[in-house]
C-alpha cells in the first residue's frame, strides 16, 4: 500500500468494487494488488504494429455507447482503422446483434464535425486554445485553490455506469458536492417509481418470452425501451412460442413496437389508467379474483364500466372486452407501461392502474421477476430522468451553481423552451462541456474539452436493463485517436481527482492503469480460470465482458392507491401533442449521423426531416394533404412541419417526432426540421416530479405551403399484390407449433 492510509475496503471502493458481495468474497485473496502496480509502465493502448496484418481484419471487443442499453460489440479493425461494428455473441444483453444506432456509432467516431481542440470563451466567443491553457482555466475555476464551494458545483450527465460513474462520484466527493444531475429524455423513471412502490424493486425483469399475451400501454420495448436489442430477441421468442404470443398495443401514436401489434388500439393521451381500470372491471366481472385488493381499489374498479371508460378513452367497448378476454384466456400475460402512459401530470397514477392489472392477473412472479442487485452496486447504471432536468433549471434559476460540468447530455437542446434553460444557465459563471461534438450545450459552455470518441476511449459499462446474467462490459479503443488534441474522459476526471489529492487515486498514471488495477483486484470467483492478473486482464479485453453474480432480489405485489383526475377537454387547444421517440434519432443525439438521417423512420418512412403525423379525419378537418406544412402551436411556442397522414394515430393527437431541430451539432443536424420538446408545457408528474412529455395541448393550422414529403414509400398499400402475405395465428400454431425447423 502506498503512504496514504487506504484500507482494503476503501481500496475496493476506489476501484469500483465496493458493496455487499465483494467485501466478503474478496477476502480470501490477500492484498496481491498494490497501488504501485498502477505505476507500472503502461504501453500504448493499442500496439498497431503487432495487430496489423495487411488485408486482414481483426475484431476487438468493446461496448456500444449509442444509448444506455450497453450492448457489447466487436469492432473490425483493418490497417489501423475501425470499419464495422457487430454485436458480441457472448453478451447476455445483445447476443451478437446490434440495432441501427449501434451500426452507426462509427459515424460518430469519424464524424467530420468532431471537436478537435479545446475551446475557451473569450470576450463572448468560443476560441481555440491549447490544452495547457484549458487545464489552467479548469484548475483556476475548479481546482483545490479555486475556493470553489462544493455545494455550488454540479455534474450534469446522461445515464452513467461502471468506472466512469465511480470516478464521477469520487470527484463529487472530493469537491464536496452532492449535485449529480442525471438526465435522459427517453427513460422509464415513472414506471420505476411505481415498481418500487408496488413490487419493491424499481427495475424488475420482464419475461416477455414467457408471456402468451402482452398488453403494452405505449411501451416501445423493441424501439426506444431500456434495451431495444435485448427485447427484440425476446420478442422473437415470444412470437415463435407455442401458442404464439399475442401483442396488444394501446397508445396515442403507433410506435415501432405498435407497428408489430396484432391488435393496435388508439387511445386519447392521458386516459391509459382509465382504460386499465375498465379492463380490470371486465376481468373481475369474468371471475378474476380481486379479493386480495384493498376495498378502495375494488370500489374504484367497480366504478369503471365499459361505456364510461369508452367515452373517456375513445376505445370502443367491444375492444375493451376483447382485450380483457385475451388477457384472461392466454395466461400468463404481461402488462407494460411506457412513455405515453407515463408522460402526464397523473403519470404515476396511470402507471399504477396499469401495473394493477399485473397484480390482478397474477403476473408478478411469473412474467415479472426480481432482478436483484449486482455483486458490484457501484458499477450499476445511474439511470437518467427528466426530474433532474427540471431540478437543474430550478438551481440555475436560483443562481445556486457556480460551476457545472456537462457530459453525455445536451440539456440546452432537450429542455422545453418554457424552462428558459438557455437563458438561465448564462447565470452560471463557469460551464464546462466534455464533448466530442459542438452540440447546443457545448456551444453555450465557457470551456469545451474535446474528448475521445467512444471508439477511442477506455471504460466499463453496465446496461440500464440487466437480464438474468448480469455483466460488466469493457470499452476499449478500437483505434488510435484521430485527433492528437483530444483526451479520454476517464483520464480527465482522474487528473482532476489527483489535483484534488483524492485519497487512493494518486498512484494511477492514467485511466487505463486505474482500470487494469481494478480488474486485478477482482475476487477469484469472478476471475474464473485465469492464471494471473495479467492473464485475466488479457482475457477480459478479448471477451469484452465480465459476468457477475446477482445478489438478493424478491418482489412483493402490493397495490397502491390510485387517484385518476377527471379528464378535461381544452377547447382553445383541441389537440394533444405527442413528441414521439424514434429508434434512430433517439432523443436527438444521433441527428449528426448521416446513415441515421437517411434511414427512413420505421413508421412514416420519412427521411432527413421532421414531420407531423395526423389522422385522416383530422387532416380532412384541417384541410391538409400529405406534404402540406402545418403549424402546431402550444402556449409555449410553435413548430412548423409537413403532414404525414395515416390511421395509426388518434384523431385528437398531433405527433411530432423528436430528434431534429438542432441549432448546433454539425452539418448533418443543424437547421434541419423541428424540435417538439421546445414547445412542451413545463408540467411535471405530481408524484415523481418527472417532466410530463405527453401533457401538452396544441392547436394545428394549415400554413398554406406544400412540398414533397421526402420518404421511402411510393405506395402505402400493397395494391392487392402478395408482397407481405399474412396468415392467421391458429394456422401458424397448427403448422409450426412446437417445431424447431432449423
Amino acid at each position: 500500500m502506498s503512504g496514504n492510509n487506504v484500507n482494503r475496503r476503501d481500496f475496493l471502493k476506489i476501484l469500483g468494487w465496493g458493496g455487499v458481495g465483494v467485501a466478503v468474497a474478496g477476502c480470501d485473496r490477500p492484498t496481491t494488488v498494490t497501488l504501485e502496480e498502477g505505476k507500472e509502465e503502461v504501453v500504448a493502448y493499442l500496439q498497431p504494429e503487432e495487430y496489423v496484418i495487411p488485408g486482414v481484419g481483426v475484431w476487438f471487443a468493446s461496448t456500444c455507447q449509442q444509448c444506455p442499453a450497453g450492448c457489447a460489440v466487436h469492432g473490425r479493425v483493418r490497417e489501423g482503422r475501425v470499419l464495422k461494428m457487430e454485436g458480441n455473441p457472448d453478451s447476455p444483453i445483445n447476443y451478437g446483434k446490434l440495432c441501427q444506432m449501434g451500426q452507426a456509432g462509427l459515424q460518430g467516431h469519424y464524424n467530420p464535425d468532431r471537436l478537435k481542440k479545446p475551446l475557451l470563451r473569450k470576450g463572448g466567443t468560443l476560441t481555440e486554445v491549447s490544452w495547457e491553457e484549458a487545464m489552467t482555466q479548469l484548475d483556476q475555476k475548479v481546482g483545490p485553490a479555486s475556493g470553489l464551494n462544493g455545494e455550488r458545483f454540479a455534474w450534469f450527465t446522461g445515464t452513467v455506469s461502471g468506472h466512469q460513474s465511480v470516478l464521477l462520484s469520487a470527484h463529487l466527493a472530493a469537491v464536496g458536492s452532492k449535485n449529480h444531475f442525471v438526465h435522459e429524455v427517453i427513460n422509464d423513471a415513472v414506471a420505476r417509481a411505481v415498481n418500487q412502490d408496488m413490487l419493491g424493486e424499481a427495475a424488475p425483469r420482464y419475461l416477455l418470452d414467457q408471456a402468451r399475451v402482452v398488453l403494452s400501454f405505449g411501451a416501445d420495448f423493441v424501439g426506444t425501451g431500456a434495451s431495444p436489442v435485448y427485447f427484440a430477441n425476446t420478442y422473437a421468442k415470444f412470437r415463435t412460442a407455442t401458442p404464439r404470443g399475442v401483442l396488444i398495443q394501446v397508445e396515442p401514436k403507433m410506435t415501432l413496437t405498435g407497428g408489430s401489434a396484432d391488435l393496435w388500439v388508439a387511445i386519447r393521451p392521458g386516459t391509459e389508467g382509465v382504460l386499465a381500470l375498465g379492463i380490470a372491471k371486465h376481468l373481475v366481472s369474468q371471475g378474476v379474483d380481486a379479493s386480495g385488493l384493498p376495498e378502495s381499489l375494488r370500489t374504484l374498479i367497480a366504478g369503471h364500466d365499459a361505456d364510461k371508460v369508452s367515452k373517456i378513452t375513445g376505445v370502443p367497448p367491444d375492444r375493451i372486452a376483447r382485450i380483457a378476454a385475451l388477457l384472461k384466456d392466454r395466461s400468463p400475460s404481461l402488462v407494460l407501461a411506457g412513455a405515453s402512459a407515463e408522460g402526464h401530470a397523473h403519470g404515476y397514477q396511470s402507471v399504477a392502474a396499469i401495473m394493477l392489472l399485473n397484480v390482478l392477473l397474477g403476473n408478478v412472479g411469473k412474467t415479472i421477476v426480481p432482478s436483484g442487485a449486482s455483486q458490484f452496486p457501484q458499477m450499476e447504471a445511474k439511470a437518467g430522468n427528466t426530474r433532474d432536468l427540471l431540478a437543474f433549471a430550478d438551481a440555475a434559476d436560483k443562481k445556486a451553481l457556480d460551476v457545472v460540468f456537462f457530459h453525455g447530455a445536451n440539456p440546452v437542446y432537450t429542455a422545453p423552451a418554457a424552462l428558459g434553460l438557455a437563458e438561465k444557465i448564462k447565470s452560471i459563471p463557469f460551464k464546462v462541456a466534455f464533448s466530442c461534438f459542438p452540440d447546443e450545450t457545448a456551444m453555450s459552455a465557457d470551456l469545451v474539452l474535446p474528448i475521445l470518441s467512444a471508439h477511442e476511449d477506455w471504460g466499463t459499462h453496465m446496461g440500464v436493463y440487466q437480464p438474468e446474467q448480469k455483466s460488466i462490459s469493457i470499452q476499449q479503443p478500437l483505434m488510435e485517436p484521430l485527433y492528437p488534441d483530444t483526451k479520454g474522459f476517464g483520464d480527465l476526471v482522474l487528473t482532476m481527482l489527483k489535483a484534488r489529492k483524492a485519497a487512493g487515486f494518486e498512484g494511477f498514471e492514467d485511466y487505463y492503469a486505474y482500470l487494469k488495477s481494478a480488474f486485478a483486484a477482482l475476487p477469484d470467483s469472478v476471475k474464473g480460470d485465469a492464471v494471473s492478473d495479467e492473464d485475466f486482464w488479457g482475457k477480459t479485453l478479448q471477451k469484452g465482458i465480465v459476468k457477475v453474480t446477482t445478489v438478493g432480489g424478491s418482489l412483493s405485489a402490493k397495490a397502491v392507491e390510485i387517484n385518476l383526475p377527471e379528464f378535461k377537454e381544452d377547447s382553445a387547444r383541441p389537440y394533444h401533442l405527442v413528441p414521439s421517440a424514434r429508434l434512430g434519432m433517439w432523443d436527438g443525439r444521433h441527428a449528426n449521423l448521416p446513415w441515421l438521417q437517411e434511414a427512413p423512420d420505421q413508421i412514416s418512412k420519412v427521411v432527413w426531416t421532421s414531420w407531423v403525423e395526423v389522422h385522416p379525419q383530422t387532416a380532412a378537418k384541417l384541410g391538409v394533404k400529405e406534404g402540406d406544412f402545418i403549424k402546431v402551436a402550444s402556449e409555449h411556442g410553435a413548430v412548423e412541419a409537413q403532414v404525414y397522414i395515416y390511421k395509426g394515430v388518434h384523431p385528437d393527437v398531433i405527433a411530432v417526432p423528436m430528434g431534429q431541430g438542432h441549432e448546433e451539432y454539425g452539418r448533418y443536424a443543424k437547421g434541419r426540421g423541428v424540435n417538439p420538446l421546445k414547445v412542451l408545457a413545463p408540467v411535471a408528474d405530481a408524484k415523481t416530479g418527472e417532466l410530463a412529455l405527453y401533457a401538452t395541448r396544441v392547436t394545428a393550422a394549415h400554413v398554406g405551403r406544400r412540398e414533397l414529403l421526402v420518404k421511402l414509400m411510393g405506395n402505402e398499400t400493397q395494391l392487392g399484390r402478395k408482397m407481405v402475405a399474412t396468415v392467421k395465428a391458429d394456422v401458424f400454431n397448427r403448422t409450426e407449433g412446437g417445431k424447431d425447423v432449423a
Partner: protein, 333 residues
C-alpha cells in the same frame, strides 16, 4: 450474355428442381426472411450501408429516388390476405386512383429546363401527386400494426435484369448470384427498368465527392469498391464476405460450413428474422427451412402438399425464380 451463349446453354442455365436442380453451381446462396419475427427496425439496412460503402445521398436526391439503400424496409398499411381488410386488387387500385387523381396536365411544365427534377419537389409538378401516399384500409383506425417487408436483391435464378444488359455487366455467377460488373457497366439502366422488385440502384452522381467528407471516408470498407457516376449497383449478398469464407475453406481443404459467416444484414438482425446460407448444402438452415415450407426453386407456382405453410416468394408468378423465401406474417385476428 451473348445470344449464342444463351442458345447453347439455355437448359444448363434453366434447369429446374424437377430436373435435379442447379447442381452445376458451386454454391447457391439463399435467404429466408421470417416476417413473423421482423419488427421493421432498420438495423439490416444501416448494417448494409456500413458494410458495402453505400453513399448517403441527402434529402434533395432522396426526393428524386436517387438513394442507394441496397437493403430497405418497405412498410404497408393493408393486409390483402386477411380480415378486416378484404379488397380485391381492382377495388384497391380504384380506391387509390379515386383518392389520388393524376396531376392535371396543365400543372406539368415539361418545356422548362430541368423541370422534371424540380417538379418532383413542387405541388402540381410532374410526379408529385403520384408519390403522395394513400391509405386504403377499412375503418377509421389502424386496427393492427404495419406490414414490414425487408427487400434486398432477390438473386433470381431467372433474373429479368440479366438478359437485357447490352454489355453483359450483369450476369449469373457459379454461386447463384446476380453479379454486377462495375467496370463493364455503361449505365444503360435496362436492368433496373426490368427488375420487378426495384432493387437496382443507379449512381446518378459521383456520390463519393460529398458522401464521405473527411474523415468519414476512413470508414470505407477496403474489401469492395466505391462506385462512380454512371454505374448500376445492387445487393451482392455481401460477396466480399462470401469470398473470404470460400478462401478460408479452400485453404483448410474443407467445405464452407453453414453459419460460419453471414451477410451484414443477417448478422445484425436483432430478432433473427433473416437466415442466410447455401441451398446446395441440404443440412444448411436455409435448405431446411425451404424444405419445411415446401417451397421449391425452378417454379412459377408452388405445389405445396400443405397449403397452410407460410413460405412464399415475392412476385414468383413472374418467373423470376428468386433465391429469397419469405415466411408470411402471422396475425392474431
Amino acid at each position: 450474355m451473348s445470344l449464342n451463349n444463351i442458345l447453347t446453354n439455355w437448359s444448363r442455365y434453366r434447369k429446374g428442381a424437377e430436373e435435379g436442380g442447379f447442381h452445376e453451381y458451386e454454391h447457391q446462396w439463399g435467404m429466408v426472411v421470417d416476417l413473423n419475427k421482423c419488427i421493421g427496425c432498420n438495423a439490416c439496412s444501416v448494417a448494409c450501408y456500413a458494410e458495402n460503402n453505400l453513399p448517403v445521398v441527402g434529402e434533395t436526391r432522396y426526393a428524386k429516388s436517387q438513394f442507394m439503400s441496397w437493403m430497405r424496409i418497405e412498410r404497408y398499411w393493408d393486409e390483402p390476405d386477411i380480415e378486416p381488410y378484404q379488397a380485391t386488387p381492382s377495388a384497391n387500385v380504384d380506391v387509390w386512383i379515386e383518392t389520388n387523381p393524376p396531376a392535371a396536365k396543365t400543372d406539368v411544365k415539361p418545356s422548362m429546363p430541368g423541370s422534371y427534377a424540380k417538379g418532383l419537389l413542387e405541388p402540381g409538378g410532374q410526379g408529385f401527386e403520384e408519390r403522395v401516399g394513400v391509405y386504403a384500409t377499412k375503418g377509421e383506425a389502424q386496427d393492427f400494426g404495419a406490414s414490414f417487408l425487408p427487400m434486398m436483391c432477390q438473386q433470381c435464378h431467372a433474373a429479368t435484369c440479366e438478359p437485357v444488359c447490352p454489355v453483359a455487366a450483369t450476369y449469373h455467377t457459379p454461386d447463384g448470384l446476380n453479379a454486377q460488373v462495375y467496370n463493364r457497366c455503361i449505365g444503360s439502366r435496362y436492368c433496373s427498368n426490368n427488375c420487378p422488385y426495384r432493387l437496382r440502384y443507379f449512381n446518378f452522381w459521383s456520390y463519393y465527392e460529398d458522401a464521405w467528407p473527411e474523415p468519414l471516408h476512413m470508414q470505407l470498407n477496403p474489401d469492395l469498391a466505391v462506385r462512380d457516376k454512371g454505374v448500376m449497383e445492387k445487393c451482392t449478398f455481401c460477396v466480399q464476405r462470401i469470398r473470404v469464407a470460400k478462401d478460408e475453406a479452400k485453404m483448410e481443404n474443407r467445405k464452407v460450413r453453414d453459419g460460419e459467416f453471414a451477410t451484414a444484414c443477417v448478422q445484425t438482425c436483432p430478432t433473427g428474422a433473416l437466415v442466410f446460407g447455401d441451398m446446395q448444402d441440404p443440412e444448411s438452415k436455409v435448405s431446411k427451412l425451404w424444405r419445411f415450407h415446401q417451397v421449391e426453386q425452378g417454379k412459377t407456382k408452388q405445389n405445396k402438399q400443405n397449403k397452410e405453410l407460410r413460405g412464399y416468394r415475392i412476385l414468383e408468378g413472374l418467373n423470376t425464380d428468386p433465391s429469397v423465401m419469405y415466411l408470411e406474417r402471422v396475425r392474431e385476428v
